[in-house]
């Protein structure tokens, strides 16, 4: 089975929020909410500074606490490459998943259900990249199947230094940051 993942090159990312806007129009994300966002992390003292810029979103964890806490089975691991999705019909908006997610990736949609990044499931089934990946002007984002040894994501992880966010939580996140 495929294991979809995203690899994001922090050395190329300029934090322009293109991914955020692309997601917003692609997925009709309501005003006031976003499924992805930018984090800037600066260390040091002027002028000797180091800054990492990351495009962040749901980590589509292999070990997803949101799925385990969901009382209705709305949050689930999909057959499509192991991505984590929410079945809006089953969701009762109880916010247990929001509390459980260490990445703060979820929000309650004004229509009452919990929403978040879907890796643009509707696009990837057509063989397209997620909207954020397809639109990024710096080409800093890569999407693909880690089970496929020839995929760009797999090759990048084999050849570059990377890290994941909050590894201590044991969620096995599937967004990898090249550093």
């Amino acid at each position: 089975m495929a294991r979809y993942a995203m690899v994001i090159d922090t050395t190329k990312c300029v934090g322009c929020m293109d991914c955020v806007v692309a997601c917003k129009t692609e997925n009709n994300v309501p005003e006031g909410f976003n499924r992805d966002w930018i984090t800037y992390e600066t260390i040091g003292k002027f002028p000797t500074l180091h800054m990492e810029i990351r495009s962040e979103r749901c980590n589509h964890c292999d070990n997803p606490p949101c799925v385990y806490t969901c009382p209705t089975g709305a949050s689930h691991i999909s057959d499509i490459g192991g991505i984590v999705l929410v079945d809006y019909q089953k969701c009762i908006g109880c916010k247990a998943c929001i509390a459980a997610c260490p990445y703060d990736a979820r929000f309650v949609h004004p229509d009452g259900y919990v929403s978040k990044c879907t890796f643009c499931e509707h696009r990837i089934v057509q063989g397209l990249d997620p909207a954020c990946v397809a639109s990024c002007p710096t080409h800093c984002m890569y999407f693909g199947d880690l089970e496929d040894p020839n995929s760009e994501v797999k090759k990048l992880l084999n050849s570059r230094k990377y890290r994941v966010l909050n590894p201590e939580t044991g969620t096995k996140p599937q967004i990898y940051y090249l550093i």
Partner: protein
């Protein structure tokens, strides 16, 4: 007035910006579009080109069930390369913005009173043409001046030229890149142009002087910047602020603001002293090297250290890096470069460094831009007018722009009546209140006018001062002039409607043509619909109009753009036929033929130098009504160095006001306490602090840099307004 919260606003307008299915739920305004498009079920893709900034990227508009869904880059377009920037993607919000101008307005109160009568196009245009004819009859056509920014103004300018007007201006010269174009023209006989002819993607080493690429989102330039990072190019960033680009750089030079020319002179000094320059190139192609060598001697890195605060070793190391990789290395010419009022001289230093690197039209530095040849439409000739343009009397600024004029020169003439009175302004696509330095002068000038016409898409501040406001369709809803940019390959792009306008907005070409008819100038419009005009031009170039409409872009034949590909290196447009290190033109006009450094004024104790720049999600003051882009960045912040903030007891997120040297107090604005800026300056994004109440999302959100820029220093060479010499104090609210 009670301020609308976003939540309340949503309840009132009855719409959320939820996109396709939900998007535009039950609003009346969009239903009119819907009914026109109801038959279009499913997704339709329509190519056009973007106008949310002036890079003019090719786009594909996705229309779902008759409603605008999303925008993507056109994959065959060399400017977007299939990817739009955040503003380009967010262009959807330009269409759905509920605060758009909807119908022609005629003012019924005093100027600035913001009371309006909604009127018909016929009435608004009749009134406009009456006023213009009155003023022309009484004072001559020279009493009418035009401010027009962007490609949309092409047809309006055609009508007004036919009417006898010569006083045209655009802020792109005196408030933006004028000094750069003048400096390159003086040195090389050629300009840089937009899109820039820099070959970032193939560069091995380049220096950015205050250019914040990555925050400045000119699309292909940002793409090339990321490509250069990936290929391991050595990046040198010179900026008082640790910009995004600085965070990608191998060398960050935290320069004292206003001292860039000192650094550049020291770089020239080292290039020559250490014989790092391209000697063959200099011998063969440049003029004035021996004199330069003598001139530059005192400007050592040690001298520059005192001015700039940059260690001499770092100055040497960085220029050695640039020299090591020549000719695939360059100093970027910048874009918005009206900083201190001696800006041509600074950019001249940049031109000289590049010449010493021998990088002109060389891969990895500059390429020679090429352009599609598209014949002009055969209009009758414009009437001959023998009056002098108003903005540059007696050629006071010998190298002022001819095409783009001097905006503030028109403003001064309007205030003083010298060299002759200006009685009407016509303003297209530029919010002069936020664009020109010193708002007081702009308002003083407006109050002297008999007539002010504004054509805009949103109720901008300048629109709110107008006598007549004409609402234009946004770029996604209209046909427009072709995009024939000079770039890496020759190409032509079409702008065509992706979606119908939601109200009674009209296309710029239609407004221009109707106005011409009312003014008795119908013969200047042999075509009735713009498509006849576009088809004529495209077909007379031997191209297929149908193909252009279907593909959005037609790419021409590749041509050599580098010396490396067999391009001839010639400099036929300078006096000496060579690259003028020594500028014969500047010398002839009494200016220093070599770049001069002037120490900028120091901020008084307790004051900070005010610097401004761009956020990647907004364009100038044009997009703060866009619901999508405002969802990204809704107000600006003032960047304050952490140590300074501590002594002022200001915490991150506190509201503050800035007060400038002339006592002007800003709107309240959030403090961004950060290590990413020097302690002697503060920085803010341009374009916020709107004062037009009709811009409900943007009204009094953040502060306006333009309001605080009451001092401006005019470049004596070309008349640009240096805007970085203002000082502010910081007060907690």
């Amino acid at each position: 007035m009670e301020r609308l919260t976003r939540r309340k606003f949503l309840q009132i307008s009855g719409t959320t910006f939820a996109g396709a299915g939900l998007l535009v739920g039950g609003t009346k305004m969009i239903q009119s579009t819907l009914s026109a498009n109801e038959k279009n079920k499913g997704v339709v893709k329509i190519p056009s080109y973007c106008s949310i900034c002036f890079w003019k990227c090719g786009l594909i508009g996705y229309v779902k069930d008759g409603k605008l869904w999303k925008l993507e880059g056109n994959p065959i377009d060399p400017l977007s390369r299939g990817r739009l920037c955040p503003r380009g993607n967010g262009g959807v919000g330009q269409h759905y913005d509920p605060d758009r101008l909807q119908a022609p307005l005629v003012r019924i109160s005093n100027r600035g009173g913001e009371e309006w009568k909604v009127t018909t196009w016929d009435e608004a245009l009749n009134y406009t043409s009456q006023k213009l004819v009155e003023i022309k009859d009484k004072y001559g056509p020279q009493a009418i001046a035009v401010f027009s920014h962007g490609p949309g103004g092409a047809f309006l300018k055609h009508t007004l030229r036919a009417f006898g007007i010569k006083n045209f201006s655009a802020p792109s010269f005196a408030q933006c890149r004028g000094p750069r174009e003048v400096a390159f023209e003086l040195t090389y006989g050629e300009i840089i142009g937009s899109p820039e002819r820099t070959d970032i993607k193939n560069s091995k080493c380049f220096a950015l002087i205050g250019s914040h690429i990555g925050e400045n989102m000119h699309n292909s330039q940002v793409q090339e910047f990321a490509e250069a990072i990936e290929k391991g190019a050595t990046i040198i960033v010179v900026d008082p602020r640790f910009s995004i680009a600085a965070s990608k750089a191998k060398y960050y030079l935290p320069i004292k603001p206003g001292t860039d020319t000192a650094l550049l002179l020291a770089w020239i000094n080292v290039l020559i002293q250490e014989k790092l320059y391209d000697r063959d190139f200099v011998d063969k192609y440049t003029f004035g090297f021996e004199q330069l060598k003598e001139y530059i001697e005192p400007f050592t890195p040690e001298w520059a250290f005192v001015e700039t605060g940059i260690e001499p070793n770092l100055i040497r190391e960085t220029i050695r890096e640039l020299a090591r990789y020549k000719p695939a290395s360059f100093v970027h010419p910048g874009r918005h470069v009206n900083w201190y009022g001696n800006d041509v001289q600074r950019i001249r230093a940049i031109t000289i460094i590049n010449a010493l690197l021998g990088n002109w039209n060389r891969k990895g530095a500059f390429f020679k831009p090429v352009k599609m040849e598209i014949p002009k439409y055969p209009y009758p000739p414009y009437p001959e007018m023998d009056y002098e343009v108003v903005y540059n009397p007696n050629s006071k600024y010998p190298f002022a722009g001819e095409e783009e004029g001097l905006t503030q020169g028109i403003r001064s003439a309007t205030i003083t009546g010298e060299p002759y009175p200006i009685k009407a302004w016509i303003v297209y696509g530029t919010n002069l209140i936020q664009t020109l330095p010193n708002q007081k002068e702009t308002i003083e000038a407006i109050n002297k006018l008999d007539f002010l016409l504004v054509i805009d898409v949103i109720p901008s501040e300048i629109a709110m001062w107008a006598d007549v406001v004409l609402p234009e369709t946004v770029y996604l809803e209209r046909y427009d002039e072709l995009n024939i940019s000079s770039f890496r390959v020759p190409f032509v792009g079409i702008r065509q409607p992706v979606v119908a306008p939601p109200h009674d907005q009209r296309d710029g070409w239609w407004i221009a043509r109707e106005l011409a008819i009312k003014l008795g100038l119908e013969k200047f419009y042999p075509w009735k619909h713009i498509e006849e005009y576009l088809r004529y031009r495209i077909e007379s170039a031997g191209l297929s109009y149908e193909q252009l409409k279907t593909d959005g872009i037609i790419i021409g034949e590749e041509q050599p753009i580098y010396v490396d590909d067999g391009l001839n290196l010639e400099f036929p447009y300078t006096n000496t036929g060579k690259i003028e290190l020594y500028s014969t033109q500047l010398a002839a006009k009494g200016f220093s033929p070599f770049p001069t450094y002037e120490r900028p004024p120091e901020p008084p104790p307790g004051y900070f130098r005010l610097l401004f720049g761009r956020t990647p999600v907004h364009t100038f003051s044009m997009t703060q009504s866009n619901p999508i882009l405002m969802d990204m960045v809704a107000e600006n912040e003032v960047w304050i160095n952490s140590d300074v903030a501590e002594t002022l007891e200001i915490k991150n997120g506190d509201y503050i006001v800035l007060k400038n040297q002339d006592g002007v107090v800003s709107n309240k604005v959030k403090a961004r306490v950060t290590q990413r800026i020097r302690p002697d300056c503060v920085y803010m994004y341009h374009g916020f602090g709107h004062t037009s109440r009709r811009l409900r999302r943007a009204y009094l959100k953040g502060a306006s840099d333009a309001q605080l820029i009451t001092r401006y220093d005019i470049d004596p060479i070309m008349g640009g307004t240096g805007m970085n010499n203002n000082f502010v104090t910081i007060e907690k609210v």
